[in-house]
Amino acid sequence: MKKIAFLLIVCIAFIFAEEIEGQYPNAPDFTLEDIDGNTVCLDLLLTDGPVFMSFWALWCTMCIKELDALKPYFDEFDSLGVNLLAISQDKARAVPKVKPFALSHKWRYIVVLDPDNIMRDLYHVQAMPTAFIIDQNKKIVFTHQGYKPGDEEIIVETMRALFAKGAEDEPQE
């Protein structure tokens, strides 16, 4: 039964993935607090431009590597209006270390606290890190589980492609 169930789940996962390929799911709304005590709301962020968000935690080495690797691209995307979010999944006990850690790494992302892991549930995060890109139509246009050195290039290329497409879609004057 176990082997059959496992194979069945593998098959169904593929069938279902195939079905939704190309149809981007809507991004769930959220309102959370950042490390400076400011309220961060998805709808407000999207008024500036697309949103990139990565789920991370202090114990997750790969998450920190991903956010460090994306640092050199911050200015490029910030100037285009992209809001880059680092969503901390650290539980209440680790919260005091989040801000000192993020600033010591010179991250300029909006670091959001989610000690009850509400966001992890909302976005069905299965592995850390997981990154999402949300376009201004509030669609999740990119999902990426895990991090391997070099993955940041794919994330950056996706963002650039998103902007190139946005520029093409704009009406010509």
């Binding site: 039964m1 069945l8 993935a17 769930p28 005590g37 005091p96 270390k97 010179k106 299965q126 391997k148």
Partner: protein
């Protein structure tokens, strides 16, 4: 004789028939289960067309592993699947979790449950009914949390309402606690009690840069032998954020009756943190003093007071603990970061003065001392070198070991070759316990291609069997392990792990469990849709 043979034959045939008939029933059940699953997925596709947002995730795990203690078959299987589905229509969200765990041994009960949450969320109100997780403050009064990586599900089932109004938030809740915990390769429901929790929490930011909160939780029990039994927790906190400096203080008190004998029980907790954060430098200090604040049973808590210990160890989860934690994060230049940590939690020792109890650890105390120094450098864009030394002293923490000291220098080098990357690591763990001094060392190598795969090989070795080792830890001296992680698509990942894992005491968030040594294959498929 012939008659006896014929009876035996007939019995054999009957049992054979029963086996065939059972197997047919099993096959039929499998077909029905498969059909139900397929129909469910088909219905989701139809619902999507109706404007209902459907999203979800699935995690399926299958293990086959050796168990030499078994008499007949010498292997066991483990299958578990967790399917999460969310349906959103306007301001209404329905969330369901289907969980199934099937062990291979017929005498072990399998675990199957369906959790759901129905939520209505429209500012300023958020109301939900079902299974939920929530923490009041930093968890001194209430901490219902889910630690999926550690397989520790500490939930509440009931009603919760949040109201936001004018920089303030009021939370009201009522719920039945449940703790599902994975230990020794088995899932247990730890707190199968009749307890009912009711709580209120109010937070306000009416004063600039200051957050004030107050809270109250009461535990109601329908079955309690204690005369005039009651348990309640209350407390509050103040958080101040001035420029780069942030401070937080929380106080909690527990009032109740001693179990069975009755009589007044009182507990108290103090928790204080302060930190400095400027670009390139971060310092954090934590202080805690817990006396009988931990509320729950032998293996579970309704509150989970924080521990500063990074490796997740606590001494007795809020019963008798005092300690501190200091962390320093420093990036003097862009291509280097330094982390230094010194954390300590022990039981109280009234022979020492108060500062002595906070900062010292003597032979009469049970406790943990953790020290880490880590340096990370990027000499070039493609190269990363991480070197660290971790020291951990455990006193009265592990069963059968009075004191254990581990000193672990380790180094890891990652090099990006363009289309591929390689990572190599070495760690050497010098362990000194009551009766034995020994060492463990490990070498690892990984090769990966971005967005495709990572192949990791690890070989760990212990120089000799320590004197304290009990049979359940196994008597292996080496643990070879290979893991392949495949990104099937950006939303699907398959991990296959083959080899041996050491096992031992593992902890997370103050909760510890014994993990059995493992020899076999693990397959994990995760999907987001």
């Amino acid at each position: 004789m012939n008659r006896r043979n014929s009876v035996l034959n007939s019995k054999f045939q009957t049992s054979n028939f029963k086996q065939i008939s059972n197997s047919k029933i099993r096959n039929r059940k499998e077909i029905v289960s498969a059909a139900v699953l397929l129909l469910t997925f088909a219905s989701f596709t139809l619902l999507k067309a109706q404007g209902i947002r459907i999203s979800g995730a699935n995690r399926a795990e299958y293990w086959v592993f050796v168990d030499e203690n078994l008499d007949t078959l010498n292997y066991k299987e483990h299958f578990e699947d967790k399917l999460k589905l969310s349906f959103q229509y306007g301001d209404i969200l329905l969330h369901g979790v289907f969980f199934l765990w099937e062990p291979s041994l017929p005498n072990t009960d399998r675990l199957k449950y369906f959790d759901y949450t129905a939520q209505y969320k429209k500012d300023p109100v958020n109301v939900l009914y079902g299974t939920y997780y929530t923490t009041f403050g930093r968890g001194l009064v209430l901490n219902a949390f889910l630690d999926e990586d550690f397989r520790n599900d500490n939930s509440l089932y009931g009603l919760k309402a949040d109201i936001r109004y004018f920089n303030s938030q009021l939370t009201l809740l009522s719920g039945k606690p449940r703790n599902i915990f994975f230990e020794e390769n088995t899932y247990f429901v730890k707190n199968d009690t009749t307890d009912q929790l009711r709580g209120v929490n109010i937070e306000t930011k009416l004063i600039p840069r200051t957050k004030l909160a107050g809270r109250y939780v009461r535990v109601n029990r329908t079955e309690d032998m204690t005369p005039k039994a009651f348990t309640e927790l209350f407390g509050g906190n103040i958080g101040v954020n001035i420029g780069p400096i942030e401070s937080y203080f929380e106080y909690a008190q527990r009032l109740g009756t001693y179990p069975v004998i009755g009589g007044r029980l009182k507990g108290e907790a103090l928790y204080f943190t302060t930190g400095l954060a400027i670009p390139g430098l971060g310092i954090s200090f934590q202080f805690l003093d817990y006396d009988t604040i931990g509320l729950g049973g032998a293996g579970y808590r309704y509150n989970e007071p924080p521990t500063p210990i990074k490796s997740g160890i606590s001494v007795n989860r809020g019963i008798n603990e005092i300690g501190y934690g200091i962390s320093l994060f420093y990036s003097p230049i862009d291509m280097a970061t330094i982390e230094v940590e010194n954390n300590k939690v022990t039981t109280h020792d009234t022979t020492l003065n108060y500062f002595g109890q906070i900062f010292e650890i003597n032979d009469d105390m049970d406790g943990v001392l953790e020290q880490t120094i880590k340096i990370q450098t990027y000499p070039s864009y493609d190269l990363e070198i991480v070197g660290a030394v971790d020291r951990l002293v455990k006193q009265g923490i592990e069963a059968g070991i009075e004191k254990k000291t581990e000193t672990k220098p380790n180094v890891e080098v990652t090099y990006n070759l363009g289309p591929f990357f390689i990572e190599t690591g070495y760690e050497h763990n010098l362990i000194s316990s009551d009766t034995s001094d020994y060492y463990e060392h490990a070498i690892s190598f990984s090769l990966g291609k971005p967005e495709r795969f990572v192949l990791s090989l690890r070989y760990e070795r212990r120089n000799r069997i320590p004197g304290w080792l009990v049979s359940k830890y196994g008597e292996e001296l080496s643990w070879p392990l290979a893991e392949l992680s495949l990104d099937l698509t950006t939303r699907h990942n398959l991990r296959i792990r083959v080899g041996a894992e050491k096992g031992g005491l593992v902890c997370s968030g103050g909760v510890c469990r014994f993990e059995e040594p493992f020899k076999g294959v693990k397959m994990v498929l995760t999907s987001i849709f």
